[in-house]
Subunit: 286 residues, 4 copies
């Protein structure tokens, strides 16, 4: 696949007959070469329709702007679609918020550095200064924004000023709860990694909760952030077996590995337009 | 391993130095041949101690009864142990309670029939008559005991009369909540299979709860039953990945396979004395 | 989903632009309501194209036969497709061949009895008489066909006579190697369960091979049978962790559970037309 | 657990009655406080015996040297044991050999930097200069030793000189085959990560082999290096599911994550004396 000439069309709308035919006929007519197509209907009758199409643009008979306009006029409006077209050559801008635990953030930077995560990272923001040197080593600006209950309003203002026009935000173990206002500014564009298998052990100190309950498996969950803590649409989860031998520190160690993997997968899928939100759930075309 | 001459010693007590030396020296002195030994301390200082020893009895210098008495007198009392000795030639008696869903119960009967589950099964009891023929095909008595909110007291009395002196009870998708009295009669000797990854989705209709929440993994949990619903010590859990494509019936289908596997493992471990209870948790020497 | 009005169209052909548009436009024009669509291209340029479409037929403007003819004439020929159309109301006929190990065969029968496997089973054939009673309990004819090196030709002739017009054959631990002629009569329509993670441990006694090599994970593989032993296209695999503690019998026990699950999944996917063969590999739209 | 006062005793010998009693009585007599004990017998009669004991030394009635001498004289010789005693405060010295693929090596350095891997790392050696800067950022000496078929003898001599008295060597995707002489100098003390689920796909380019065979699961294997390529005792393996959609680069990407996890686990277990070699297999007390 040539990623320079790759584009993706992502669609959500009320289901009705003929959508796939209309979309694929449109792309065929304009010489877009479909290489991957996924669709999902929540119900055979009267459900929601979700679709993702990857195509190559090197023979396209229109410019990107023309394609955009033509699709909206000829297909999007007709089916009252919520849709967007993403040319992969235009990289998304991703900001990372982190507190003291570095593993999840560094995993993302490490993948980015190796070319595995095709985004631009304008900044890493933290409420602690600890990770400044580690982030700087990647050549990425590190911004320390103190954040306490008293200073939340100013802190969030400062963070939003820093974020500028980022496309999405990753909370890579950012241990502060963001305000509903802040969250509303990035609908389904803030990804959090929670260190439990949600909905089990929402809230604080999930590994301790897990140990107290005596579960035989622990997990990690990547989800979009909504106003309600740990309740947003789940993007990805994974688990690892534990036994009576694992003390709290062991759970945290195993959990770190899980969190890194789960968050990295969720971010990549988000970047590749594979995650479509369906109310409080997600459709993931992975 | 010759299971006719196999015995198991299971011990719980306050931890202090010298326990392993005392137990193993005792067994060595009486010519028990240790083939497997597991021990666990919850804390290096002042914790609980758990131990399980498998040994061959063919060269034993004492009779089983003498060994039992000698161990209590020479080791058990000294360390204030909670202990028991189980000669595998004496099979445990297991009763099964089931409602309409047959998969978990039949999985146990099928394994029993193949010789994979070394227990005696005096009866299968159900609050519905539906599974009578299926159970009878295994040559096991099937007892129909209707059970409604109004008749709970009589029903439980009737069940207990049927159970007689069973060693343990398996709730293989038995959809009635047993009274605290009933549960107290079989402390850590009733095994339930709950069709979710506890503590997520305790209570009714967990697959529907899971679908509504949009989780990416579903699970099943085998646990000992306590007075508090779905809160007892967890013996075993397992999970399977699901996607947006899975409808409720798909989750139930995947869940059935999980429940069968998880319950079968938990029952086998219980039969082999591998599950030691530590408050509301378990130590599983598997 | 209403399975009585469900149909599936499965397509393989050389990839070129416009296939998805042509297929979906055709179905839309004849009022087939697409509920699931998967497609795959092995290469963006010059590869093979694979597609599977599920649709509801209750509003179809043509009869099944007319739809079949129209699709061939209007789409199939144009793209030189290898395709078939399967109306789910017409159940596939599945035969099972088994030797002495009963678990894989009984797992299929058990699922069939519960309505989880929508096939007709005209017969179970075995080279040993042992499973006669167990199969008869399901109300399915059991046929004993002795099969030795000396009698292979006659045995295979007898089996083929028994099979009649079955749609596919499952080797549920059938421990005889079928001749190339036999295999050629059912191209990609014989499913075998091999008790290892292929290509590791092909051939005989894979659990013993696994134990000798000291692997930490064992597996099972369902694949289509070709003339070359254990080399056919893999449909599904799964694994389970093992340790130094597991003796050969333990591996066999764990393996039985794996084999049952893996074979059941592969058979269901085959029945639902989810498995498309691509040379010696498979595309599985699961 | 206090790791400063932690010690581990690891034992291999012919099995016979009384070993556990002798070892634990010895430790008890000298006021070693056992916190973890694992033992394994390959056979109830006439097999090999393996044992690992963790204990706290803060109340020990002997010095480490005295304990060592006393154990040898009183227990080790009596049972003809192959044994060693490791005081955790004395860190193992680990060298890393790597070629161009950096992920496996950097994963180890990263864990070491976070304090998750209690070893000293005297050097990272590579046959390419590429990773010099990345390694230097960890403050670890990087040594470039060119290694071609023509220069193997000199290269290995140079590497051995660099290694000095390291305790073990990790081949973190080191793409050269070491000579039998080199390997013999570090018996069961060279850990390799092979990027397949051995014994499947031994040798070169395993991800391409896996893709050609069409497997549905890929794996990674950490093993001790012996004179025979990819045939040494397996320490740990893990797997991940793949589908027809995964191209070769996708397999490599998924494989990188696996390799990092599998190698990190194997190295940690080696460092914690959890891996005992049994011929061409391992006993892992994890």
């Amino acid at each position: 696949m040539d990623s320079n000439t790759l584009a993706r069309l992502v669609i959500t709308c009320a289901d009705r007959p003929g959508i796939v035919a209309a979309v694929t006929s449109f792309l065929f007519a304009h010489e877009a070469n479909i290489t991957e197509l996924d669709q999902h209907s929540t119900d055979a009758r009267g459900g929601r329709f979700f679709m993702r199409v990857e195509f190559q643009t090197d023979k396209l008979s229109l410019t990107p702007v023309e394609l955009q306009q033509a699709f909206g006029a000829q297909v999007g409006e007709r089916f009252e679609m919520d849709w967007h077209l993403h040319f992969a050559a235009k990289r998304l801008r991703m900001a990372v918020l982190v507190s003291k635990h570095d593993h999840a953030a560094l995993e993302l930077l490490w993948r980015w550095q190796r070319g595995e995560l095709p985004v631009d990272i304008p900044c890493v923001i933290s409420n602690h200064p600890d990770l400044g040197a580690a982030v700087a080593a990647f050549g990425i600006p590190f911004v320390h924004v103190p954040f306490t209950a008293d200073t939340q309003v100013q802190a969030e203002a400062q963070i939003r000023a820093q974020l500028g026009d980022v496309d999405f935000v990753v909370l890579a173990r950012y241990m502060r709860v963001l305000s509903a206002d802040f969250v509303a500014a990035f609908p389904n564009r803030i990804i959090n990694i929670h260190h439990s298998f949600l909905p089990a052990f929402a809230g604080g100190d999930p590994y301790r909760q897990a140990q107290l309950r005596g579960v035989k498996i622990i997990g990690a969950t990547a989800h979009y952030v909504t106003a309600e803590l740990d309740q947003g649409p789940i993007i990805e989860q994974d688990v690892v077996r534990v036994t009576h031998r694992h003390e709290l520190d062991d759970l945290k160690g195993l959990g770190r590995d899980l969190e890194r993997q789960v968050l990295a997968r969720a971010v990549r899928w988000h970047v590749e337009d594979r995650v479509l939100v369906d109310g409080n759930k997600t459709v993931v075309f992975a």
